[in-house]
């Protein structure tokens, strides 16, 4: 048995255990014969009890006893006394079995069954629980049963809360008790029970409580988990909010049917090339939501109500919830100027994945100017090649400062709703920050640093939700750098956090963002062809973020970073030109977010690691559940299955088939040999230029 030293058994012990096994065998044979013949006499039922005492795992015997009880209860002469004595018997058998094995699924389940018959008393059950929870305070069967009893026998959450407190005082490392506390508090908040109407009073006390544990031993993990839960309760607003949109409120959008903007007539931030007269409207929520549709979001354009506008979720998976939703609005080219009004959530139906209703209806409007094509079409259609080379960029700002700033101002996010941060939340965070600074002054503690970094970020976001002020970002960046050194095993995680904070910082003010805005100017032609390019190159980013502030970007330079993933980039629906040169992308599937970017025309993924780590896609054969969706999709396409080269490159097919690229750079990846390139050309017949070579 666990924990006891083993000794060779003495002969007489061995004999005894053989006898025991024989006895069990005899019992069992007898039991099965009763069971199969549906014999429920007193002797038969007692025999099953004996069997269960020896082996509580005998689930067949538990079921037999249920049948026996039902059998007696259905007898015509059955009276309440009888019922009581039967059920008492069951409770006794369960208790004996638990004494033998307090982790027996069958025994606990049988007890629930008895209780659900309305038998036993809460005191009785609490007494039993107390006994087993003392013996093993982490026994999850007992905790599950406790929650069951408390609920079915209507014990108040407050009493149970007190119990967790007692358990925690006995052993503050008992995570099961902390966990149950979070479950109970969640229930109380949800019910809006008296004293728990607002989190405002409760959470500060909980912080107080957890500090005792954390300060007693900062290395104990139980407290940290609970602290993380508290932080989440403090920060998370239940109902989802619209964090940003494109176009934003008050924008002047210029739809240009022609490639070149001819200089400064329009704001380069909001001019958009469109052949079809349609453009995307993007809604960015602060958490994933479902239910965005033309009935929950109305888009009015002049006298047109666009009731058939199709909203699509932008998420990596095919789920029907996402933070980002997009619809394409078509403006008739006869309307040279239209005003568009978008109202979000005035009728119910937008719901977060956690089940909360969008409850801050908001409205934004913008103007759309259509600029019809003026030039001869042939002039434009010559494939213009875009090269994101240093020499082709000019820092933005050489032009009249005034107009730039004005256009930039339009980008800031102003939504109808005001900040939902209530004071107590930021106060609670401020207190925590102070407390953790104190802890860190006493000792060096990784988790303490990480928590402080999280608190500071949460505080900034909460205090200045739309003002874009990040007063603590320097400190957070320092903490992340520190942690990378202190805890190299989790380097990558801290690095990611560092990247996210850095991006928040860059995008937090127009001054800092403008430093990254460049004008693209082809060295060959003198015309300024194209919008502003946001250059976030050479920042050693390992992750991309701050998308909610970058929805306007059409040209993005992320070259010379350390990106392994570009998750989230699908939100940037206006992207037409993207450089990911010199990053650490390892596979074509990492490019998946780009499949959702319908305007993307120029892509540079040269000098990554695609193909360095070959992946055998046949690994799980076709039954691969992991490739289900992919496999079935590509099978529909006849042209593919008939072409061996494409079958061998199904990943490339899957990723690139939806692209509308004119220009692709893929040189410098292991995968990019001549054969592969010829496959690409087949997959993307519209491609005009590959690795700098014009395609015929």
């Amino acid at each position: 048995m666990h924990g006891r030293p083993r000794k060779a058994p003495k002969p007489e012990e061995e004999a005894a255990s053989v006898a025991k096994a024989q006895k069990l065998h005899a019992l069992q044979t007898q039991f099965f014969s009763f069971h199969h013949n549906k014999i429920y006499t007193k002797e038969a039922v007692e025999l099953s009890a004996k069997l269960l005492e020896i082996n509580p795992e005998s689930y067949t015997a538990w079921n037999y006893r249920k049948l026996a009880v039902e059998h007696y209860l259905s007898q015509p002469d059955c009276n309440p006394d009888w019922i009581k004595s039967f059920l008492d018997d069951e409770l006794r058998v369960v208790e004996n079995a638990l004494r033998q094995n307090f982790k027996s699924y069958g025994a606990w389940h049988h007890r629930k069954w008895v209780i659900s018959k309305g038998h036993s008393s809460i005191d009785n059950e609490l007494r039993l629980l107390d006994k087993f929870q003392k013996a093993d305070s982490r026994n999850f069967h007992a905790w599950n049963y406790r929650r069951f009893v408390a609920e079915s026998m209507k014990r108040s959450e407050q009493d149970e809360l007190k119990y967790t407190e007692d358990m925690i005082y006995k052993n503050f490392s008992n995570y099961s008790a902390w966990h149950n506390r979070s479950v109970l508090l969640s229930a109380l908040f949800e019910k809006k029970a008296e004293g728990f109407l607002s989190k405002e009073k409760v959470l500060p006390e909980e912080y107080e409580f957890i500090h005792q544990a954390i300060f007693t031993d900062p290395d104990d993990q139980s407290g940290w988990f609970y602290h993380l839960w508290l932080l989440d309760q403090t920060v998370t607003t239940d109902s989802p909010l619209l964090a940003s949109s494109w176009p934003g409120h008050g924008y002047d959008v210029f739809l240009v049917e022609d490639r070149c903007y001819n200089g400064s007539a329009f704001s380069p931030f909001t001019a958009l090339h469109s052949d079809s007269g349609s453009f995307p409207i993007v809604l960015y929520f602060n958490q994933p939501v479902g239910g965005v549709s033309s009935s929950t979001v109305t888009v009015e354009c002049g006298f047109n109500k666009n009731e058939d506008l199709l909203w699509k979720p932008l998420s990596a998976s095919n789920s029907q919830t996402a933070r980002v939703w997009v619809a394409h609005l078509k403006i008739p080219s006869s309307d040279l100027l239209s005003t568009v009004e978008v109202s979000v959530g005035h009728s119910k139906g937008i719901i977060s994945t956690r089940g909360f209703e969008y409850s801050h209806p908001s409205m934004f409007s913008f103007k759309v100017h259509v600029q019809p094509m003026e030039r001869d079409f042939s002039q434009v259609s010559v494939a213009e090649s875009i090269s994101l080379r240093e020499e082709n960029f000019k820092i933005y700002g050489s032009q009249s400062e005034e107009s730039i700033i004005n256009s930039f101002n339009q980008l800031s996010i102003k939504n109808g709703h005001e900040s939902t941060a209530s004071n107590w939340r930021s106060e609670a965070l401020a207190k925590e920050i102070e407390c953790f600074r104190e802890l860190l002054s006493l000792m060096d503690c990784k988790i303490g640093k990480l928590t402080l970094a999280r608190l500071l970020m949460a505080y900034d976001v909460m205090s200045y939700p739309f003002a874009n002020k990040l007063v603590h970002s320097e400190e957070v960046l320092e903490l992340c750098s520190d942690l990378m050194k202190l805890d190299p095993t989790h380097y990558q995680y801290y690095k990611d956090e560092h990247s996210m904070v850095l991006l928040q910082k860059v995008t937090s003010s127009k001054e800092s963002l403008l430093q990254h805005c460049f004008q693209y100017k082809d060295s060959v032609s003198s015309a300024i062809c194209g919008p502003i390019c946001l250059r976030l190159n050479n920042l050693s980013l390992s992750r991309m973020g701050a998308f909610e502030k970058l929805l306007w970007v059409q040209m993005l330079d992320l070259s010379h970073n350390e990106l392994q993933s570009i998750e989230g980039l699908e939100a940037m629906q206006l992207l037409s030109c993207l450089s990911l040169r010199n990053n650490k992308l390892r596979s074509l599937t990492a490019l998946e977010p780009l499949r959702k970017l319908k305007l993307l025309r120029v892509l540079d993924i040269s000098y990554n690691q695609i193909g360095d780590h070959s992946i055998d896609t046949t690994r799980y054969l076709c039954s691969s559940p992991l490739s289900h969706s992919v496999g079935s999709e590509s099978n529909k396409d006849e042209t593919v299955t008939s072409d061996v080269a494409l079958i061998d490159n199904w990943e490339a097919f899957y990723i690139f088939k939806d692209f509308n690229l004119n220009q692709l750079e893929i040189v410098g990846n292991t995968i990019a040999d001549e054969k592969f390139k010829s496959v690409l050309v087949k997959i993307m017949p519209k491609l005009k230029q590959l690795d700098g070579k014009l395609l015929g």
Binding site: Y59, K103, W113, F140, T216, Q221, S614
Partner: protein
Amino acid sequence: MESFRSLTVTQRDQILVEQQVFDIFKTFYNLPPSSQSFMLELQRENHVEYLTKGLTGLGPSFCVLDANRPWICYWILHSIALLDEFVDPELEDNTIDFLSRCQGPNGGYAGGPGQMPHLATTYAAVNSLVTLGGEKALSSINREKLYMFLRQMKDASGGFRMHDGGEIDVRACYTAISVASLLNILDDELVQNVGNYILSCQTYEGGISGEPGSEAHGGYTFCGLATMILINEVDSLDLSGLTDWVVFRQGVEGGFQGRTNKLVDGCYSFWQGGIFALLKRLNSTKEVKPIPLGDGEGSGEESPQTTTSSDAAGEEGLNGDLSLGGSHSEIGDQHNTSSQDNVIDIDHNHSKGHANVEPLFNSLALQQYILLCSQELNGGLRDKPGKSRDHYHTCYCLSGLSVCQRSWLEDEDSPPLPRAVLGPYSNLLEPIHPLYNVVLDRYREAYEFFTKS
């Protein structure tokens, strides 16, 4: 408020375990290299001998396992297959016959002849037969009836019951879906709403609990994640939260704990380690954010769980629980601790670089824990030093070791680099299919068989 005592029982237990483990590591480091490599050697012959003995006859102490006999078959047969050994044909025949007697007239497999069919033992029986392989074993499974049994176990809520009138939990969902998938009988009826049930069990810690409201647990997290992958709904889980959680279940000992602030236990080498094998694959097909972290790392991590079981007899327990994790019986919690940073660093060759994909956990540290702390030199593996070996832990420590050895690889079919395998290269075990935990070749054979028929 009263104040906390400064050292909890949990912490004391954790410190004791750490001392024991670190003593072993210290002794190891002070040995000359030749003895070190002996210590790191997987004692294949002794393990096979221990396992084979278990298959032919178990002592009377196994009474409590009477309702789990197909599990004993699976633990032993799978372990033997991992070691690339075979059982002799007569024994193989007997095993198939025995399992056939466990198969109920209305489908599914029971814990023993005459008992009611049960999902966990059905999983164990099917995995055993797949592991044995061959026409006789595979065709002995009555798939039509088994499908009917699974339908009967399906609850209106979407989850599954372990047996008629039994409990509904994540384990039941996994065993049902895994079996259906392996036998190629998975359909929409079985899948319906299972995903929602699993989602309701993911906790704010990031891991998955056995039933709604309970705390996250390694065995259930494996079961829940594998189920979601099998039904193609894995994207609805909070995968980065899950990754955060599981990464920090690896403790200073090198092994994994099963729940927050519990003691290390060898069997989580698979339940938690297998999660990484699944995540790695998800990563290569879509980019899941690979980096985790979360919680408190700090602490020492510890581990084990308690799950179930009873163990009685010298061996573990298992019992009932099946599938899941475990056995163990410890009492109490244990604790935590501290550990500051004295992580004993094992990795001689810590590959921070390329090689293939760097795993999200410390694979060499886990291998070191398994080989030095879980392995009994005369055969069998165990929870932790001071505990006894048993078939359950032998099976899941070896499964975890196999996962570790390939944790850098993206492709199971090519052999790992020598530096990915701790100890002599002869320690290399057969690769497994991490969704089902059967040896990959056997899975392929079964896949062909059940696709054709």
